[in-house]
Amino acid sequence: MTPSPVVHLRGAVALSGGFPLLSGVDLDLDAASLNVITGANGAGKTSLLRLLAGLLTLSSGEASVCGVDVATGDLRQLRRRVGWLGHEGSFYADLTVRENLRFCARALERPLEDIDPVLERVGISSRADTITKNLSAGQRRRLGLAWLLLRRAELWLLDEPYASLDDQGRTFFDALLSEVIAAGATVVVSAHDPLRATTLRPRTITLAGGRVREVAP
């Protein structure tokens, strides 16, 4: 039996003030896969990620994410199962790295003992007591990854994750994505251009005007 897709969209439309952010998206994403969404500015990349995170209202069409119907299901339950890493700052700037992660762990009722291994894994354990606004952009990205690892999200939604990473950071990031995909998570990355040469073999979804124009392979 074919497993049901983690993401299933048919004619998904999302509006903002009457303006179509997504204008009829058809898309299926399998479990344990890496998917890259590309397209020009305004193509609908971030809107699609927000819809998948349950942060954008579905105006018409069908949308099922992690088995939850986005139109009629419990969005709070869906949101607890996805991990979001935006291209803006995603954390409380005046809390330390550890305090931000402690807030996340307590909110999701995860053991606080998980924080130190996660910080170690993303390589910022030496900055655990640094106030987040004092981190470099690359270190904030790593904090974002720690946040996602701590959440044990089923669906990772990463908005322009390579934006502030140097080569070393990108290599680390790719290795980490390989690990989480091997562990069963589905990863959706938005990027302006297709990913550089990588061993991850992503599926590339090109958006234009709020619709899927091309899926490869």
Binding site: L55, Q77, R79, G83, G86, G89, F91, L95, A107
Partner: protein
């Protein structure tokens, strides 16, 4: 709900303690505003005027508006908002937590400004002490209402200027009732009906916030 409320309240208070916006910006503003009201009355009238309670609540209104705005700004960064939204926190707990943190901040400000009212406007110390319970309940009601209206304006265009426009009609009965209860304490009068208004408003705003905060956040 209580667990989430405690989590959010401690987070907000920790951020406030760390950023020191309250200490270095809001308190000095409140102290200056109180001093200016004293100067406006003039030295001949400051000790004899019955305007002390009204001026205290006028300054508290300015301080409360600043703090409500600050409370919402913490969550307003688009990335932070999305990141926190995906934690799927109980909205009723978030409302209670933010209202509780705001209430604690207003209480601290209120106590300082009450002392300032005694010093600058020469309000009777004994009367101010008697008024303290009504001041605390009024400020708690302002915190609940302010959290609710803060969520309505949060993230919208011109949020900082829209907030006072929306808040003033809601705050007016609370401020009047608080002022009457304070004045009654100074004159050793009863005026329990003003107390009742403030307590009923507190319960109503907390109830509405618990029920509607999720809807406001989503919209």
């Amino acid at each position: 709900m209580i667990r989430v409320a405690w989590l959010v309240a401690t987070k907000d208070l920790r951020i406030e303690a760390r950023s020191r916006v309250l200490l270095w910006q809001v308190f000095p503003f409140g102290a200056m505003a109180l001093l200016l009201t004293g100067l406006a009355l003039g030295p001949a009238h400051a000790g004899h005027s019955s305007a002390g309670p009204g001026l205290f609540y006028l300054v508290m209104l300015f301080v409360a508006l600043l703090m409500i705005n600050r409370s919402q700004v913490i969550e307003a960064t688009p990335g932070t908002r999305a990141s926190i939204a995906t934690l799927g926190l109980d909205p009723a707990g978030v409302f209670l937590g933010k209202a509780l943190a705001l209430c604690v901040e207003l209480w601290v400000s209120g106590l300082i400004l009450l002392a300032g009212t005694v010093l600058v406007l020469h309000t009777a110390l004994h009367g101010a002490f008697l008024a303290l319970p009504s001041v605390l309940v009024t400020l708690a009601a302002l915190a609940a209402a302010g959290t609710l209206y803060g969520a309505i304006t949060s993230g919208g265009e011109g949020a900082a200027t829209l907030l006072p426009v929306l808040c003033l009609p809601a705050f007016a009965p609370l401020l009047i009732a608080g002022e009457r209860a304070f004045s009654a304490a100074l004159t050793h009068g009863g005026l329990w009906e003003w107390w009742v208004i403030v307590v009923v408003a507190l319960v109503a705003y907390v109830g509405v916030g618990i029920l509607l905060y999720g809807v406001l956040e989503e919209s």
